[in-house]
Symmetry: D4
């Protein structure tokens, strides 16, 4: 992305006007009418585009899976319904669907996983969000340690697993209700903690907003927060941090 260097190459004829035009827009995309597929995202951000399946029309979903599969040889979709699995599974028998995390993916075989990320939950009701985080990180080449149901109402459960959590490159803390898990973990580890508030709870949980506020106001250091129920976003960040630690770009 060295504008002057590109321009010099254009001047010298080393790069064509068309090639340069695309480079200067900082990326390519493929215009498929109702959408502009961001085909240069992997180059820019290190990870190919992911499909948010929820609410997509069948024909749109199919053509997006087809285009991405063609380009990347694999596709990762989140928030997919069982019906969408049946649709995609008919065309791609190798597609795999997990009803807990609602991930619908076609994955290359033999991918290696490196490093280590710990994904913790406060309760069992937080597991769907945690699995979305864990499987996202795994798809992007991360080794994941799952440590579920270690909420602060029985803190001995968490304390008994501290040594495992401390070995991870980063920790994903998933919690609803009052969301206190992230603060406790933050005080125990030296690596970044990605806090994911969930909408688990009722009444004054305000659909997860209370847990989000808890996490944003944490008295512990090293806590970063993502959107309510955003397991995917946490898994993505965890994969980025894991790559940092493992020396990958």
């Amino acid at each position: 992305m060295e504008i002057e260097s590109i321009l010099k190459q254009v001047k010298e004829g080393a790069v064509s006007v068309e090639e340069a035009a695309q480079l200067l827009n900082m990326g390519n995309y493929e215009d498929i009418g109702y959408a502009k597929l961001d085909t240069s995202r992997k180059e820019r951000t290190g990870f190919a585009e992911v499909v948010f399946c929820s609410g997509k029309a069948d024909s749109h979903l199919m053509s997006i899976y087809e285009r991405l599969y063609e380009k990347e040889g694999e596709v990762f979709g989140t928030r997919a319904s069982k019906e969408q699995y049946e649709l995609i599974g008919n065309r791609f028998p190798q597609a795999v669907y997990d009803p807990v995390s609602r991930i619908l993916k076609i994955e290359k075989e033999g991918k290696k996983r490196t490093g280590s990320v710990a994904v913790c939950t406060a309760g069992t009701a937080d597991i769907p969000v945690a699995e979305e985080a864990a499987q996202t990180a795994e798809f992007f080449g991360t080794r994941v340690e799952r440590i579920f149901d270690v909420g602060v109402s029985g803190i001995h459960r968490l304390l008994s697993r501290v040594d495992v959590i401390r070995k991870a490159n980063c920790v994903v803390a998933v919690a609803g209700m009052e969301g206190a898990l992230a603060s406790v973990i933050g005080g125990l580890v030296s690596r970044p903690v990605i806090a994911v508030p969930t909408s688990v709870g009722y009444g004054a949980n305000l659909h997860g907003l209370s847990a989000l506020l808890t996490m944003i106001n944490s008295c512990a250091n090293g806590i970063a927060v993502v959107n309510i129920d955003n397991g995917y976003g946490a898994g993505y960040l965890a994969a980025q941090m894991n790559r940092l630690a493992e020396g990958e770009r």
Copy 2:
């Protein structure tokens, strides 16, 4: 408060019409113009009226202290300023003022304290609220154990004091920022936890509302919440519970 029994006594002449009229209103009060002093509160609720000093005019404050001192032989005031202390101290040399808790009191000598209440804080900035709670409970005859600066970002500090906390009849947990302290304590003890959110923090702490929401949504059992910075209310509740445990009415 047996209406029919009072009426029968009126009929039989055992109680005068005037006495009965007061009983049937469920209490007496003294009308001093700008206010109605609730002189039967101690009979009804077990504790004499307390003075919320903040914002009271000097002449009003003085006459309230005088009237209550006359009736009870002691006065307990909260949220008092240094100037109010000078005013009251001039008239009552035995008055004592604590600038941390802002309590301004005249207390009978030789009062006994019974039972045990633990007052914990997450940080040092929560101490003014905690002292308001502790000194309120003490004024009402409660023995108090102070355990300050045991917030969850260094949970070993709390764990090292668990045995003391467990011996109390109830626990007051005072915390600002994300307010996670109450949940952790709640999971460790068998006695009620009175959670006091404080306005300590900044940004999305929403002047204490975030901590309040954390505490209201606690995943632990046995947590009851009072208003933001309401140390007095927590101390009052703690004194009530301590009396329950000590078999006093």
Copy 3:
């Protein structure tokens, strides 16, 4: 929980390393894959674990009921559906389901109830939450007095029952809409009042948040608040306070 004393016993061989390891984590748990059952909760908090049935998968619910029944000889579940009752009832014919409170329990016979807790509601629509509170307290060995439909729009109904309310060790006040009931009761009794806001109402009731704010801001002393519609939490606190009063641990 005397760390040094445990360590001394380890040193002296009085306690094995394995036993000590569990004690030092401050409790045991049973790892059943998707969850960590908190098997030492009764020791720590005085009450065995309770099942929040809502949203649990059938197989999970069944195995949790089986495990807890095996360990405790009884199980207490809240927010259960009729379908969950059919599932559990098939396996445990002695299970009892109350469609009002949505409690699904297997209870030991001949349990004794002691002390006294008053459970009051403002209106009839608050009864489901009140029954959750009452039956929770009863399961934990508390005698309960129900006083329903005594809201402040017809205050003579409440006043006519004040003598009963005053005799209780603590009072649970359940109210939606504007939630004023707790304040009025707070001014009439000497025991703690546990205020439960409900989501009953419409419009600016904000699904119970308005009632919660009313109760948190109460001008009366001795009021502690739990989450919206959290009858279980109120019943648990009431049982704790009742135990305090009855001298039980």
Copy 4:
């Protein structure tokens, strides 16, 4: 305001074009540069314009008092500062200022007051707002009964005055903190209750918003709410209702 009748009179010459133009705009006003004084308000609404003094420049305030005094022979101003009183008092020695309600008025002598409005407060801190309401109603010719410090934490104080409250044409209920007073009064009287939330309190009182929500959600009938601390608005409504009852227009 019968458009066709005015037009007919124009056609027939009974009304001039200029007069008709003003009538058809439904009122007159006087344009004084920075403001348009609503000189026909008394005709339309029954009460002359009132001055909201807070934040007005000295020269503006003076000319508004002068213009209104010239037209009406009296002026009623709210939220005035002591400095504004000195300004106006210099020019109009008959001006009267009340530092509690912050009302600054020049009032005609010998005005008659009719009917009856009861103005109640929960606490003494609510008195400034209540006085604004009471004095507004009085200026507009209403007889006012003040009943202060009868909040629900000592309900016998309110009950001892119910007979007085019931005799009023309407009731103004002024309360901060949790604002429960309006509901209790609403259940005891047959006349409309005008509820005024105040910003009295702290923490989760949200500067009066909590009391406003309490009052809007009242379970009692016959409760209408005005803005936080809006004593003037309540007094105005009370005067309107009193006029209805006394058969005045």
Copy 5:
């Protein structure tokens, strides 16, 4: 409600102990197990109890209609479903149901309506709430003038009806979206305006909260606000004010 006078009569034997006990509780009620019917409400507040049908069990609804019909000879229910109409209609063929306002009533024949209340709406979607207000007021003996679809986006519609509105004893202004109707009417009339925010709208209308805030902050005088969609409450207040104006108690 003169306590001393009652007591004197008890003393003198003019009133029995039982009668006095009821009077002193300020009202009677009938305890029917799950509810306490407020049978003295008409004496206290001028209007008999009204049934909020929504969510009531069939058997409860039926017995309440039966009890109230027995006592009053008529019953007024709000928020009733079609199914509830079929239930009640089977037992009381004279019952009448209006699907727009969802009012289900049994009304005495030949009731007189007096005075005048104007019920205005901003749009057609506000009519269900307006009809609840209008029919409530009518049931309580008020003559009602309906003026619908006169919102401020075409203000000539409102202005063409101002003369009718001005003749009413009070005005009910029903509006959703931005709720500006109440302010405009408030500036045009001398009688109280009861503002009813509705949940009509979408997006940032916050289910009616935005309209409520508009109305509470009105720059016009003489505006009192009730809860979102609370047509019943507005009709009740309108009937109270109409009675004031017509000299009824």
Copy 6:
């Protein structure tokens, strides 16, 4: 709307009393019982009345379409359901329904479109709102350029279309989630940007409120905001601005 000139003409007999009466109310309307059709809106505002179909009863919808078609020769309805299309389509075979924008219209043939408005979306999920905006503007005679899926997470897509956007008379920026699109466009163009927040997203998007706040707080100049999901309002404003630019009234 020159009141004095109309009055003079009435006086001189050039205009009848009836005609003048209507003019002076600033518009006509047609009273059809449940509604007042604003038949002078086109004269006042330049655009005929539009039908908000959602929630209208079938008979009402039909008669409104019939009346407007009779008067204008075309009808434009928003938020229509498929069922409503079938109803109207039966009566008006020339009616056209677009299931994406949910617009149901009968349009005159051969209408000309002038000028240029750019309608941009951040993602594909924002297209329904964008189409409502685009088709509204088109119905009112505007030429529209659609530029979809150019959100800021791949900003090269937007930059590659900047020249097209800059040529428009104004820009409609439609975005959910964090709503940053409007700010970026605002910094790139010289024409007004109409920002439409959408409810697309989840968690802390607060049903579109977060995007609305983003847009209202934009650091870029020339950004005006409409309600969440209000494509119609944005299209209407765009048509107004386009007319300004094209010199039409």
Copy 7:
């Protein structure tokens, strides 16, 4: 901004690499250490950069005024304090400061104003915001009509000025409290209405948020909203629209 055309010119040597590099970044800026002055803004957006004075350090403010004056020959600053005026006025004697709008400007002489924008306020307290809007539009070459104090509580004041408002190219409606002014104007004119909520009011006005919500939810068409108290933003938009209407770019 035709990337390919620039590249071709680079290739052909018609444009230097350095010039092209700047063009391709879509603008120039001047890096002055603590800030990056956007020197190409006028080319991109039609208006030179404006200075938000509030909170700027003296040395920064001075150098920004100097740099902008050097480049443009005039400078426009908003939210300036009197102290900042003294600072700048010392250096630039031709600087003019208006304490009402807090605008501090150095303006070229003899600038022409074209077209017409109407700036309306609800009350006199809204004038500071309105003046910021008016003077911003004037600085950018717009003729402005001021129509102040025409709020809806005396709607005849607004109606008497409708003809003037209707002649403007667009209307700025400035209002606090309930903010209803924008809706009423929106229903009367054919041009866009820019609504500016102000923080004028108290209590539930929520510092202007209530007025903002009113305006965003307006039932009238053609209303676009800017931030609370953002007179500058409204004036900028008005100048843009005026340019559209006057055929300027």
Copy 8:
């Protein structure tokens, strides 16, 4: 933290009971009366304790600086006032205070900085928060690249620095008002983005809450959010991530 291994060593006498007791509490602390200094934090989390100076009493601040300096040889304090600098500077002449970031530190000489973190701001008003982040990261051994005033209203400024930003191990994006900067950067880089909302802005910025919501809802991947104005927290996270990338623990 291997409990069983510690116990074995106790059993075998390799570790004393006292040493083991401290280890098992997962850390040491120093009890200094009003506080418990977390002296094992560096061992647990990799960074020594930092002092939040705001609001600390002089004597407390001094003794904390003394204790930490004694233990670590350096002290890092945030949110310090000029007065606190004078206090500390008197005792420690080597203390350095930066009035922009309000950091007050005593730093060891010759510390090495490794890796790279980019700290970006949207405007100049965000610089104090950005400097807090940058200097925190620097104190913890991180090399920092400052890129200020690159907000989205002139996006060419950001695009001209993309190559620098892309080379960093992680990016801190600091923005107030609408907070869109984080999303744009997130779409351009492959490393984690730490988003810091600031309270810069006015009106509906809600003291930074609007920017926080924007960032939490970002459509770009790899964005993690900290509290409003929490530069320290962002710098801490950046230092953690930088260590990950540089292979340090």
